[in-house]
């Protein structure tokens, strides 16, 4: 029993199933992070005072993280492009780089968090830290999720390239869409938390 349009696009919608599926999922993620941004806005507007992000947070480290994540988005899309050009080795290299960038992001984040914790600054400190840790924490969890998916497609999942190359390429594209979204969220998080 075959489910139609898992690989080929359905003519009238122009999409294959997982492409539509991932965009729908991303729409729900927009609402998730959007709700958190909405909470942040409400709490900050209602607050009598709110510190400037750069006073309390490490802007250079976050800038580095921004570059890392944007770089990983490039390597991610390049890994997909490599598959489109039927170059599996290139794909592996780019995907590997993407995963490394992901780990790099987490390591830097780890330094940031560690520095805060060692100064006794936890989410319970005040609303600023509460929102900082919660928003970056949830984002970080999404990064971890993305790394796991990417690791799977770099490793055991890549076996599908030999048997169903088109389906595998679709899967990598879909994983890429998720990864780009994670980058997109950070693009907003960075200025909002660190620079305002």
């Amino acid at each position: 029993m075959q489910i139609p349009y898992t690989v080929a696009a359905r003519p009238d919608t122009g999409l294959h199933n997982s492409k539509l599926g991932i965009w729908l999922f991303l729409a729900s993620e927009v609402m998730l992070f959007g709700a958190l941004f909405s909470a942040y806005i409400l709490l900050r507007v209602a607050a009598s005072e709110w510190p400037h992000g750069s006073q309390l947070l490490n802007v250079p480290l976050a800038f580095l993280n921004t570059v890392i994540l944007i770089g990983s988005s490039v390597t991610m899309v390049m890994s997909w492009a490599s598959l489109m050009m039927k170059d599996f080795q290139k794909y592996r290299r780019y995907m590997g780089l993407t995963i490394l960038c992901g780990f790099g992001f987490l390591v830097v984040k780890g330094f940031e968090y560690g520095a805060k914790f060692s100064h006794g600054l936890f989410p319970s400190e005040d609303l600023f830290y509460a929102t900082y840790f919660t928003l970056t924490g949830l984002h970080g969890l999404h990064v971890i999720g993305g790394i796991i998916v990417n690791l799977y497609f770099w490793g055991p999942g890549s076996r599908m390239w030999k048997t169903e190359p088109e389906r595998f390429t679709n899967r990598v594209e879909v994983a890429g869409l998720y990864w780009h979204f994670v980058d997109l969220v950070w693009i907003f998080l960075f200025p909002i938390l660190y620079l305002l």
């Binding site: 696009a9 919608t13 122009g14 999409l15 492409k19 539509l20 965009w23 729908l24 729409a27 927009v30 609402m31 959007g34 709700a35 941004f37 909405s38 806005i41 409400l42 507007v45 209602a46 750069s54 802007v59 800038f63 921004t66 570059v67 944007i70 770089g71 988005s73 490039v74 991610m76 899309v77 390049m78 492009a81 489109m84 050009m85 890429g176 869409l177 780009h180 979204f181 980058d183 997109l184 693009i187 907003f188 960075f190 200025p191 909002i192 620079l195 305002l196």
Partner: protein, 99 residues
């Protein structure tokens, strides 16, 4: 998928590199602007504007949204409408109280 030929992909690769550079530049601009120490309202507007441009670049080129199908656009537009609702109406509620 729309792009199937290798030449098409090579053109796309050029685009990806260009977008990457643009994103780096805009990130530097974002940080640079913060050093201007503008007052909160223009600071927020500027920061969100730059972030939106960066986001649009990622969405349009890395996520291929610029050549995506109507159905996907429609879903995203609907989402954005509801998001704006969620962002703005509670704010209105916080300002408009019986006082």
């Amino acid at each position: 998928m729309e792009h199937t030929s290798a030449e098409d992909i090579k053109k796309h690769v050029r685009t990806y590199i260009l977008v990457f550079v643009a994103l780096l530049v805009l990130t530097i601009v974002t940080v640079g602007v913060s050093y201007l120490h503008l007052s909160i309202v223009p600071a927020v507007i500027l920061a969100l504007l730059i972030a939106s441009i960066k986001g649009a670049l990622v969405a349009s080129y890395f996520m291929h949204l610029i050549s995506e199908k109507k159905l996907v656009y429609f879903t995203l537009i609907l989402t954005v409408v509801f998001l704006i609702t969620l962002l703005s109406l509670p704010l209105l509620g916080f300002h408009d109280t019986i006082q």
